[in-house]
Symmetry: C2
Subunit: 127 residues, 2 copies
DNA sequence: GCCTCACTCCTACAAATGTATGTTTTTATA
DNA sequence: TATAAAAACATACATTTGTAGGAGTGAGGC
């Protein structure tokens, strides 16, 4: 398991964009994906991309003369990493409970989740 | 709903400690709670606490001579806030799937979660 | 061939964050 | 009562993060 580091806000936004695009992703695609949310100056974005590469979150390749980026850390891995302190203390049910209690998710979400689990695991729940 | 801001690493560790203690929490209690993980210099910790108060994450009171802190944002609210971009895109099942696919949680965790949901909502799941 | 576009890469710098020192005030106590 | 322990509070400063400017370079249009 890679040694992850908590990403600063701006870099995390960039990663989220990359995760949602088809790798390898050219800079321009990332830029347009983010233009509503964070209309960065091109150089600013490039700085963030290289920092992400330094940190081992992205690999950089070339497609012609353009840089293309591929995530080296999946969104799930990162999510697990960020939520680890909570998950360790209280487990997945604890997480769901906390979200529910703070009204961040509702009863429908729980229903949906249960249906999803039943579907994914089969109703038997064998080992 | 308060306007939350993503906390920097150090401040977040402090919040996690506060969340796990009984409010209102005196500085010393936070300090000892964190001494393994982040053995901060007392002033360093005090700086972080006042920054958290400025940001509206903690309220500060006095208990005799000492400062005592009370969270103004619950752990669940914060969790929801941090995971919001993911949850909006993919919902709770998506989150669980991402964790599972990245092997951050295992099949037992899913079993446990399902059992928990069955318990919490009743097996019928009617609305 | 020359210009413009679209990028890359290097450099810079203000603001935010992480960590510590020094000073003062309390309270407890040898 | 002099001394030490505990903590507040102000201040400082190195490092990291956020954002941008500018120089260089291949590609396509004219």
């Amino acid at each position: 398991m890679k040694k992850l580091v908590r990403l600063p806000e701006a870099e995390l936004s960039v990663m989220r964009a990359v995760w949602r695009l088809e790798a390898p992703v050219p800079t321009g695609a990332i830029r347009s994906r983010l233009e509503r949310e964070r209309p960065w100056n091109l150089s600013a974005l490039q700085t963030l991309l290289s920092r992400l590469a330094e940190r081992g979150y992205l690999s950089v390749g070339k497609e012609g003369r353009q840089n293309v980026y591929t995530p080296l850390v999946s969104e799930g891995e990162y999510l697990a990493f960020e939520n680890a302190p909570f998950l360790e203390g209280r487990g997945l049910p604890g997480l769901v409970t906390a979200l529910y209690d703070s009204r961040s998710i509702g009863r429908e979400d729980l229903e949906e989740l249960r249906a999803f689990l039943d579907e994914a695991m089969g109703k038997e729940g064998g080992t």
